[in-house]
């Protein structure tokens, strides 16, 4: 059995001004009045987003960070070629197991449409499972898969929530048209290994082994 617990008795000590309630209430009223007048004045200013904290959502949107993690897209390079080679690293990195990639060869005569030797025949992301952690983007060695700027992911049916390759490419085109393409992820500088055998050259700042992506 538990030892019976005796709760300490606390004596409330109030100053006179605290004791009479009203003084502090009046102080509080003054504060809320200050906010009230400020916001009323602000809400009469012309233009959207007048009250500093409120965004009138569908019309007036909060600017998002350029590295925002939203709906995925599959990138094309400057020449319009698909970058994805279908290696499946993203699928392996995914903690939610929501990516399915099928690797294939480019169809006959259409090699110029693809940047790599191999392509992804199909690419499926189940957005109902996706937790938008960004691991796939990090795992992608070719810089093909990104989590784009689009955050309106609701659909009326289940089907469209599973993004196929066309949808992912369409997402890319949309982001490109809006000028919201994500900058290429900057690999973080990695420390030189401590217990390196003498003789091997230390990693220079230029030759930093670009994040976790290139190491074996």
């Amino acid at each position: 059995m538990l030892k019976p617990i005796k709760k300490p008795v606390v004596k409330r000590e109030y100053t006179f001004l605290e004791r009479i309630y009203l003084w502090e209430i009046v102080k509080g009223l003054k504060l809320t009045w200050k906010h009230f007048t400020f916001n009323v004045r602000a809400s009469f200013r012309p233009g959207p987003h007048t009250v500093p904290t409120c965004w009138q959502y569908p019309e007036d949107r909060r600017p998002i960070a350029p590295i925002f993690r939203g709906a995925h897209y599959l990138a094309l390079d400057e020449k319009g070629r698909e970058l994805c080679i279908g290696c499946g690293m993203c699928a392996r990195a995914c903690p939610a197991h929501c990516i399915k990639v099928k690797r294939g060869k480019p169809p006959e005569g259409q090699e110029e449409k693809y940047a790599g030797k191999t392509i992804c025949e199909s690419f499926e992301i189940d957005m109902l499972r996706c937790i938008v952690c960004g691991f796939c983007e990090e795992a992608c060695a070719k810089g093909a898969l990104y989590l784009g700027p689009d955050y309106e992911l609701a659909e009326y049916e289940k089907g469209p929530c599973i993004y196929d390759k066309e949808r992912l490419l369409a997402n890319f085109r949309k982001a490109r048209a809006e000028g919201k393409l994500k900058p290429k992820r900057k690999p973080v500088p990695v420390a030189a290994p401590e217990k390196k055998p003498v003789g091997k050259k230390a990693v220079s700042p230029e030759g930093k082994a670009s994040g976790s992506q290139k190491e074996k």
Binding site: G28, L29, L31, T32, H35, N39, S43, V51, T53, C54
Partner: protein, 346 residues
């Protein structure tokens, strides 16, 4: 005795007016609280969101009327009615202006100038609690019952100081009629102060306001519907227009209490140091007195909103403690001192 037609017009007018203001109050509450909290509040329906109450009303009317299976049907339906009825009828004795002279006929801007106006108000205020208790009991929900019990205890405790403060006011003005009290507040006393109740009964005013907040179940005394503790209190199980009646009755109550505060303590339709009847025509004077009265009422309505979004909520036993240990002794002291002063000066 005025003729029936005028009385009916007055009833219809003031009823529409109170309903309109009560509707508007939901908008004021929501926008006002939003502005205090650095938000915007409802601003989509109509200009500045002014049609929001209409939208709310449509929503409440068109929602399915659900009666819980284990509720006591009769009591459940009776609750909102019992709550709204006293709220709507309480305003009858409170004036809303001085008088309007039309075709040489004097129309008093008050539905019924009964000489026991005070008793009427106190009695109807006491009746309102039945709506909450009956609704809470009929819902067959523990939270509802708790809410109903809380409201009963609170109302009983605060009726007492409420009544005692009113007595002190009656002693000062020497009448039970609200219209006569209003008329008595014209001019000045001690040479410089307006002849208002608040200057003659400063302590009484604070006590009265506190009791009024408790009667109206407003923060910091909103225990019967404290949403973080007992979900929604006595109206937990209510939906659609039944809930609408509860919410509506509350705002109508607020209007009555605000108007009562103005009548008793803030000189009704009188402006300080200024007698409007001297330089205004009979009709414009009537309208002006109505407007002055309403503006003062509007301030107290706003105060209800303002305080609600500033202070935390009491606890049940603390409310009782405040009522019995602070308000009642203080109001008795107030009564005694008032009596003493009247005895010494008159």
């Amino acid at each position: 005795m005025e003729d029936l037609g005028i009385t009916v017009i007055k009833v219809v007018f003031i009823w529409t007016w109170v309903l309109l203001i009560a509707t508007l109050m939901t908008w004021v509450e929501r926008r006002g609280s939003a502005m205090m909290q650095d938000r915007l509040g409802p601003n989509r329906a109509g200009p500045f969101g002014l049609l929001q109450p209409v939208a709310d009303g449509i929503k409440l009317f068109t929602k399915e009327d659900i009666v819980p299976e284990k509720a006591q049907k009769i009591l459940f339906s009776l609750g909102p009615v019992l709550f709204a009825l006293p709220a709507f009828s309480a305003y009858a004795v409170v004036p809303f202006g001085d008088k309007l002279v039309l075709d040489g006929k004097e129309i008093i801007l008050q539905v019924a100038d009964v000489n026991i106006g005070f008793l009427y108000i106190v009695a109807l205020g006491g009746l309102a609690v039945y709506g909450m208790v009956v609704g809470g009991w009929g819902s067959n929900n523990k939270y509802s019952i708790l809410g109903g019990l809380r409201s009963t205890a609170q109302l009983i405790s605060y009726e007492v100081p409420f009544g005692i403060v009113l007595l002190a006011v009656v002693m000062v003005f020497g009448t039970f009629s609200l219209r006569e009290i209003s008329l008595a507040q014209q001019g000045t006393f001690l040479g410089f102060l307006p002849n208002w109740g608040v200057f003659k009964q400063p302590l009484g005013f604070i006590l009265f306001m506190t009791a009024a907040y408790a009667e109206a179940n407003r923060v910091p005394f909103d225990l019967p519907e404290a949403e973080s503790e007992i979900v929604a209190g006595y109206h937990t199980e209510y939906g659609s227009m039944r809930l609408g009646l509860y919410l509506f009755g509350e705002y109508v109550n607020l209007y009555t209490l605000a108007a009562l505060t103005v009548t008793l303590f803030f000189g009704a339709w009188h402006l300080p140091y200024l007698d409007m009847s001297h330089f205004l025509g009979p009709i414009s004077y009537g309208i002006a007195s109505f407007l002055v009265f309403f503006l003062k009422t509007a301030f107290f309505l706003w105060l209800f909103v303002w305080i609600r979004w500033t202070v935390p909520r009491f606890r049940y036993d603390q409310v009782m403690g405040l009522g019995w240990k602070a308000l009642i002794p203080l109001s008795l002291v107030n009564l005694f001192v008032t009596a003493l002063i009247i005895q010494l000066t008159v």
